[in-house]
């Protein structure tokens, strides 16, 4: 018999789990964040705004801030236009092969932007880029037709890989929209133009804005593209400037201060963007999902049908095919700069980096083990913490949810910086230059993904399913084992892959934390390129691409298989 008297406070399992969860999240997530703010604003024991302003007024700092703004604004505008245009084409017109095009437009999402930047550098760097060389040497041009080391170049490349944010949201909204919303406008007397202007666009505007804010957030926090294309000509944004400060400083106090100030600005900007997004979604998220399944009216493109189709294909070729082919071809060259003839191509590079060279072998091993560990740890921790948040009736669940979702909005550079401050000896533990510090950063970064995936899965497991088990004679423990865990498993697996694949290919976080023996694949590709080992850099990038694509395909199979069962 249970002793059960309602109303008396007990320290039972729920409370213990809650306490542990809060503890874990505070240590892993909250402390690094707080340390950044402290470091930026707290000098010699008191709150110091003067120094902060001094840092901000330094030329390189405010230039970086300005660049961040200009670049991300540019990418947001172009990305939104491109994303919305393609979304509309694919859902509301009679474009040929729409289904395939829809899938193809999602591919840029899979490719790491910095690898794309690398490829474009190989194609359009003013003196050595293959396309430019072709125009100069073969067609007799005076100079390069396009210099990729410019603001325009950066914006172009980032747009190519970020537009899917808007594309996904807008095509989803357009597809799911209740067609009778537009039909009722038609029967009220409105023609297609009027309907688009006064009904369709206002109704999908929240999705457009939501997607474009995501582009802005991502672009502002992004290291790779600006690092590859901007450092040459001194175009820095906040993440790259933070990188400079940390790596050139070798721990100098001033540099770290400057970095934390920059990080604070970044966090505040990110918070502002997310708050805006929240407000837009909350105010403007309309219930426009369809019930009946009549298809919305398609616009007949007529004479524009084939040209637009070719345009889309061309875009795909430029965004995906061209860079990928370039990467693989350059990776096979004996020496960078040689023309692509059979004589100059070899698989030796691939063999070298995979089996012979320590640096790359270690990097691959590091990334895989870090990815696996981070994914496993966050998966299990995520399930437990989600369970406390969703299912246990303890006070203070909101706090737990807040702590868990916090890093979702915090840019990778900031997390890395925070982890440096926290774990470089401050509390007696020095993990700097080890894999552990990278692991801690990954856990902090990806916990939010795990919580989201697991919470979603847990919310599907209604209380009545557990109660039905208990009414059938199961104890709470048996109910958890037989009912809850099997139903949550797909969510856990999804969480695992949601974290493993991005962790495998990421650069922004590990570039601030790596030591001589703790490179990740992303860091290795980047530093090889910096050191002039373009060919090896490309080869490693090629291998990374193959792994990513294989991984994505595998997930889709697994997820599709599980959701059928």
């Amino acid at each position: 018999m249970n002793t059960a008297k309602s109303g008396t406070p007990r320290i039972g399992t729920p409370e213990i789990l809650f306490g542990l969860s809060v503890g874990v999240l505070v240590i892993v997530v909250a402390v690094p964040m707080l340390l950044i703010f402290f470091n930026a604003f707290w000098v010699d024991g008191h709150f110091n705004l003067v120094d902060v302003l001094k840092v901000l007024r330094q030329r390189e700092t405010y230039k970086a801030l300005l660049n961040s703004l200009v670049l991300s604004a540019g990418v947001t505008v172009t990305g939104t236009i491109v994303g919305t245009f393609f979304a509309w084409l694919v859902t509301r017109t009679d474009l040929p092969f729409k289904k395939t095009m829809k899938l193809l437009f999602l591919v840029p999402f899979m490719l790491p932007a910095f690898i794309g930047a690398l490829a474009w550098k190989m194609l359009l760097s003013p003196r050595a880029g293959y396309i430019n060389r072709f125009f100069i040497d073969v067609l007799g041009f005076d100079g390069p037709i396009f210099d990729i080391y410019t603001y325009a170049g950066i914006i172009l490349v980032e747009t190519m890989y970020l537009f899917p944010f808007v594309f996904i949201q807008v095509s989803g909204a357009l597809e799911r929209m209740d067609p009778t919303l537009e039909e009722s406008a038609r029967i009220s007397g409105a023609d297609l133009m009027t309907i688009t202007r006064r009904i369709t666009i206002p109704l999908v505007m929240p999705s457009i804005l939501s997607g474009s804010l995501l582009i802005m957030l991502y672009s502002m926090a992004h290291f790779g593209t600006v690092a590859v294309l901007g450092i040459e000509t001194g175009i820095y944004n906040i993440p790259t400037l933070i990188y400079e400060k940390i790596h050139q400083s070798a721990g100098s106090f001033d540099s770290i201060r400057a970095a934390t100030v920059l990080a604070t600005v970044l966090v505040l900007a990110a918070a502002l963007i997310l708050w805006l997004q929240n407000r837009i979604l909350r105010k403007g998220r309309y219930q426009i999902i369809a019930g009946k399944s009549f298809r919305p009216t398609e616009l007949k493109l007529r004479a524009w049908r084939v040209p637009l189709f070719l345009f889309c294909l061309a875009y795909i070729v430029f965004a995906i095919v061209l860079p990928t082919v370039t990467i693989f071809l350059v990776g096979g060259l004996k020496t960078y700069g040689l023309p692509f003839t059979a004589a100059n191509l070899t698989l030796a590079n691939y063999r070298h980096i995979l089996f012979e060279w320590d640096l790359t072998r270690d990097a691959i091993w590091n990334s895989i083990s870090l990815g696996l560990s981070a994914a496993l740890i966050t998966m299990f921790a995520g399930v437990i913490i989600s369970y406390v948040i969703v299912k246990m009736k303890v006070r203070g669940r909101g706090l737990l949810e807040f702590l868990g979702m916090l890093p979702f909005s915090v840019p990778g550079s900031v997390i890395a910086l925070g982890v440096i401050l926290a774990w470089s000896g401050k509390f007696g533990i020095n993990l700097y230059n080890t894999v552990w510090i990278i692991l801690l950063a990954y856990i902090a970064r990806y916990m939010a993904f795990s919580l989201k995936a697991n919470s979603a899965a847990l919310e599907q497991v209604h209380d009545s399913l557990v109660e039905a088990a208990r009414a059938s004679g199961a104890t709470m423990g048996q109910a958890l084992k037989d009912i809850v865990i099997p139903l949550v498993r797909p969510g856990m697996v999804a969480a695992f892959f949601l974290i493993f694949l991005p962790a495998l290919r990421e650069l922004t976080v590990s570039v601030l934390l790596y030591g001589p023996t703790t490179r990740t694949i992303g860091v290795a590709i980047y530093t090889l390129n910096e050191d002039g080992e373009t060919v090896y850099s490309a080869a490693l990038a090629g291998i990374a691409l193959i792994t990513i694509v294989l991984g994505e395909v595998l997930i889709k199979r697994l997820v599709a298989g599980k959701s059928k069962a």
Binding site: N2, A4, S464, E467, A468, G473, A474, Q478, A565
Partner: protein
């Protein structure tokens, strides 16, 4: 099989008293329904019996066993109460086949495999799901999932079966079919059933006895369906169990008039003696004629609904509803149109104190 004794049970939620000293007894082998509006506390009472909540006052016994007692701070956990329960959303486990769902209680009880298989298949046949044992719930319709839930609740031969509005999410035809099936099952197995619902139609159709609860959690009347329908304890019960017509009646000396009008009351003698009383009657109590004796009425609305004709009739300022079998209307020239006048007689009348229509007291 067992009876259920609920003695002085109270329950408080977030400062609000949901149930206050409620006492009730369910006989062994009967189908008992708790009927009341949403939020009245009927589901809370069911969860107390099931063991998912513990009472703040009073005690609950099933058979000879005290399963919950506030005084001694003891409560048997749900898994030890030997009950079967069917939830509103069926709560059929999506990752287990029909067979595994139904067999689960036996598996937990560690019944040997041969007996488990036999008893499970027997339950499958009992609810008419033969041939579907290997299917997953996602491959079944709502009604079929309902049967899985039912079979699962019955397979361990529980002493008490709890049903929490299980037919809510089914469409009208299926609801009708299932309520007869549940009744038939109960007759066949002789299991004690506690059914909780806000739908008076279902309550009337399946119960041996029913209890009407109001929003405050108080029991207004307990009795057999016909008893409660024909002899309601008060106007709450009268209103809750079906469409209720009320005509205010005014006593002036020895004469009776309708409401505030000069129209005399024509109909059964009241058994209440206040100056203001109310006549309550069902649509089926209304008898219409084109002329002759009876209350004068004007047809406000006439709807042909197939099997019956629905009338909204104005009698001296009060609107009442009548329902007449359509073939009778046809045969006896009682197909009225809007605006026509008629004469209304009443077959049976329930009398209530006070003026229920306007709210004025006696």
């Amino acid at each position: 099989m067992a009876n259920v004794r609920i003695e002085g049970v109270s329950k408080v939620y977030a400062g609000r008293t949901v149930l206050s000293s409620l006492s009730l007894e369910i006989q062994d082998g009967e189908c008992f329904t708790l009927l009341g509006p949403s939020g009245c506390g009927k589901t809370v009472l069911m969860r107390l019996i099931a063991g998912f909540e513990t009472p703040d006052g009073g005690s609950i016994s099933i058979g000879d066993q005290v399963v919950a007692s506030a005084a001694s701070a003891q409560a048997l956990p749900p898994e030890q109460r030997a009950l079967g329960m069917v939830f509103q959303d069926y709560a059929v486990w999506p990752h287990m086949s029909v067979f595994d769902n139904i067999a689960y209680p036996l598996k937990l009880a560690q019944v040997d495999p041969a007996a488990l298989r036999e008893r499970t298949m027997h339950a499958v046949a009992l609810v008419g799901l033969d041939g579907l044992e290997a299917r997953l719930p996602s491959q079944l319709s709502g009604g079929q999932q309902q049967r899985v839930a039912l079979a699962r609740a019955l397979v361990s031969e529980p002493r008490l079966l709890l049903l929490d509005e299980p037919l809510n999410n089914l469409d009208a035809n299926l609801r009708e079919e299932m309520r007869f099936e549940i009744k038939a099952l109960q007759r066949k197995l002789g299991v004690t059933i506690l059914y909780v619902t806000h739908d008076q139609e279902i309550a009337l159709a399946i119960s041996d006895r029913l209890a009407v609860m109001d929003e405050t959690g108080a029991l207004r009347q307990i009795g057999a369906p016909q008893e409660v329908y024909e002899n309601p304890a008060d106007d709450f019960v009268f209103r809750f169990l079906g469409i209720a017509n009320f005509l205010p009646v005014r006593r002036d000396g020895a004469a009776l008039y309708i409401g505030g009008s000069a129209a005399p009351w024509v109909g059964p003698e009241p058994d209440k003696h206040g100056a203001r009383i109310t006549a309550g009657f069902r649509p089926s109590d209304v008898l219409l004629a084109r002329g002759g004796e009876g209350l004068p009425g004007i047809i406000v609305r006439a709807s042909f609904l197939g099997a019956q004709v629905d009338y909204l009739i104005d009698i001296a300022g009060t609107l009442i509803r009548a329902a007449l079998p359509s073939h009778e209307c046809l045969a006896r020239d009682l197909l009225f149109v809007e605006g026509e006048s008629c004469r209304v007689s009443l077959a049976t009348v329930q009398w209530f104190d006070g003026d229920i229509v306007s709210g004025a007291r006696a």
